[in-house]
């Protein structure tokens, strides 16, 4: 063996071969983790690109009345002069619609822009014949042009289905005109009710469980059940909401008991109030658990220092525990709200309207929400609906990102506060 120094870790050669295999294992795992990350990124990119693919692209449209017929040589209503706009209206608008227009204000008071939109909506009336995705628009141009050639009176327009107009227009049976204003308002109303219902109750329950409740069997069972509730599928909450809010509490949720306030007699309890309360139930356990975690994270020394100068429990909670943990509580609440914002199933179960063109006006209105609108549009066969569904998805994603961005902002504030300690 010679004079090689032996120890419990083997010879130099053995050590070398071991470190080699250890390094190799290390490398393999690193590659596995990188692959995992890449897959996640890939799927995200796929999701986004498939949405964007549908939001932009060519559409073949056909006018009922070509703008060229209204004013010779002008292909778009936007190029009309004011006199030409008023002339076209006088000559082509039916008397019924004209009366409706005039009942708001006289023609002189209408701006050019308003006149253009009236003419486009009631005279020119473009109809969508067919739409193409972004990739088709970029790579199959000849086929698209061929289609347009064959269709009489059709013309090609590259459009973004997501536009400011899309956000503020109400629902319509014509995808070219439809917008998501009703759905956005519905979603915002629902969020408001959900927050107003779940936040105070959830925080109150969490404070009781964390700060007051003693550690006994009953409270442990309660705690376990709250954990279980947070994992119950959302459709179950929909059934619960249907049984309680829509059916059992109908006089209240339909507004019948406050008859003077009831704005919509046909809702039958399938109202914003019912929807908001149902989603409130859904996120209640999440808010409770999150608030408990926030309170648990506060060191006991803070409680002790408050009790030490003769504070009551409530004074300790209100002046010290809540101010310290409110950022964290709100962060969790916002994340819970963004879950509620994306929920479809429970609202479908309690009977949210799938087609509604009237803005919700209060607690007792019928409603639809963004996810429901998307669900409804994406299940239609006509191509253009898929485009506006994709546009609505983008709107929903932006809304979610705003909510989550607020949550991240609040979380950063918590971290800053911590670094001060």
């Amino acid at each position: 063996m010679g004079i090689q120094h032996m120890n419990d870790f083997g010879s130099t050669k053995e050590v070398e071969s071991l470190i080699h295999s250890r390094r190799r294992t290390d490398l393999i795992w690193k590659v596995v983790f990188i692959i995992g990350t890449c897959m996640a990124i890939l799927f995200l990119v796929l999701l986004l690109s498939s949405i964007i693919n549908s939001v932009f692209g060519y559409a073949a449209l056909r006018y009922s009345v070509d703008p060229v017929e209204l004013v010779y040589g002008k292909e778009s209503v936007k190029d009309f002069t004011r006199e030409e706009l008023i002339d076209s209206m006088n000559s082509h608008l039916s008397s019924g619609i004209m009366r409706r227009v005039l009942s708001e204000k006289s023609l002189e008071e209408h701006s050019n822009k308003e006149l253009v939109s009236i003419i486009e909506e009631f005279i020119v009336e473009p109809k969508v014949l067919r739409t193409w995705t972004l990739t088709e628009s970029l790579f199959s141009r000849p086929a698209i042009e061929e289609f347009v050639q064959k269709e009489e009176g059709a013309y090609l327009s590259f459009r973004s289905w997501l536009s400011p107009q899309f956000l503020v227009t109400e629902q319509s049976s014509d995808p070219y005109k439809a917008g998501i204003r009703t759905a956005i308002l519905g979603s915002l109303w629902i969020m408001l009710i959900t927050f107003g219902f779940a936040f105070p109750i959830g925080v109150a329950a969490a404070i009781y469980l964390q700060e007051y409740a003693v550690d006994n069997r009953l409270n442990r069972i309660l705690q376990l059940n709250i954990f279980n509730l947070s994992a119950v599928p959302s459709i179950i909450y929909g059934l619960l909401g249907l049984a309680i809010f829509v059916r059992a509490m109908e006089p209240v949720t339909s507004g019948a008991v406050f008859s003077s306030l009831a704005t919509d007699g046909t809702a039958n309890g399938r109202t914003i109030l019912s929807g908001g309360l149902t989603l409130g139930l859904l996120i209640l356990p999440i808010i409770i658990i999150n608030t408990q975690e926030a309170l648990k994270a506060i060191p006991d020394s803070l409680r002790m220092s408050a009790y030490g100068v003769g504070a009551t429990k409530w004074q300790t909670i209100w002046h010290h525990l809540l101010p310290v943990s409110i950022d964290r509580i709100l962060t969790g609440t916002i994340l819970a709200l963004s879950r509620a914002l994306g929920e479809t199933a429970p609202l479908v179960v309690i009977g949210a309207s799938t087609f509604i063109a009237v803005d919700p006006s209060g607690l007792f209105s019928k409603f639809t929400t963004l996810p429901i609108q998307i669900y409804q549009w994406s299940s239609r066969p006509q191509g253009a609906y898929r485009n506006i569904a994709a546009a609505a998805i983008i709107a929903l994603l932006v809304l979610l990102m705003l909510l989550n961005g607020t949550a991240i902002y609040l979380r950063n504030r918590v971290t800053k506060k911590k670094s001060l300690e």
Partner: protein, 283 residues
């Protein structure tokens, strides 16, 4: 085993000379502000402390010393009913404050904690401004005086005023550890307590900050009764007038081994255990 050297009121007169320091002349009639009678404290089934009998003289510093787990902190916390906050804790015997049992059903622990303040091992100011740290306790207890004066007086009382008078609106957590601890003492005296309990108040501080706290304690003894738990025996001998030495038995239950004037206890311990402990043979 559990011999008690209860301090007799007639004994606490005269000048106590110890370790080169001349202690002040004690008052002729030293009153006992707190008296523990046969106190046993339990956490669920576990008996943490048994049969403590102890009379704590007014406006003096009493130190609790002893090895880890001997229950000195537990006894301390029973005096302002802080133990109530620990689930499952219960007490037998009586803790009398000015002659009234603190554990009487009619006694509100919230009120007790204003009269018997507390300073904790780790400095724990509120994450609020320095001003608010002092004013808050007074406000929740319904203080009617001038808050600026109260804050200044309390901070001066805790020897902190000169260091913080220009930054009362700053967050207290920006102060150094020693300053934070003196702020906690200021916060405790702002609600005008009679007794201040200190649970190892200097153990998380550096030597210079510790010296300041000790200096502060010797000033505060003129106005307050102070009970201090410490594991630092030289600190106990420096700051206290009386010392209670706790021991722990085979069942991990703490008990009071010896109690007396600090000078007597450190120079002429009556118990073998006390002598071994203060000479550093264990603990």
């Amino acid at each position: 085993m559990n011999k008690l050297q209860r301090t007799d009121t007639s004994m606490v007169t005269g000048t106590v000379a110890y370790a080169g320091n001349t202690r002040r002349v004690m008052k002729q009639e030293q009153r006992h502000i707190i008296e523990l009678n046969d106190v046993s404290i339990h956490y669920g089934d576990f008996r943490a402390v048994k049969d403590v009998n102890l009379s704590i003289p007014e406006k003096a510093v009493t130190a609790f010393i002893g090895p880890s787990g001997c229950g000195k902190s537990t006894v301390l916390r029973s005096i302002n009913r802080m133990n109530d906050l620990i689930p499952g804790s219960w007490i037998k015997g009586t803790v009398a404050f000015n002659g009234h049992d603190l554990y009487d059903e009619e006694v509100d622990p919230v009120l007790i904690r204003r009269k018997i303040g507390m300073v904790f091992q780790k400095p724990n100011p509120f994450p609020k401004t320095i001003f608010e740290n002092i004013a808050w306790g007074a406000r929740i207890n319904g203080y009617r005086g001038n808050y600026e004066e109260l804050v200044e007086k309390s901070l001066r009382g805790a020897a902190l005023w000169d260091e913080v008078k220009d930054k009362l609106k700053e967050n207290a957590l920006r102060l150094s550890g020693g300053q934070q601890q003196r702020l906690c003492i200021a916060r405790a005296i702002a609600v005008q307590p009679e007794v201040i309990l200190m649970d190892e108040p200097a153990s998380a501080l550096d030597p210079i900050a510790t010296a300041k706290i000790e200096e502060l304690i010797s000033t505060l003894r003129n106005d307050y009764t102070i009970i201090i738990v410490t594991h630092n025996m030289s600190q106990a001998s420096r700051v206290s007038d009386y010392t209670a030495f706790y021991m722990v038995d085979d069942h991990r239950t703490g008990y009071l081994e010896e109690y007396g004037k600090t000078a007597d206890l450190f120079l002429n311990p009556k118990n073998e255990k006390t002598e071994q402990y203060i000479s550093g043979k264990f603990g």
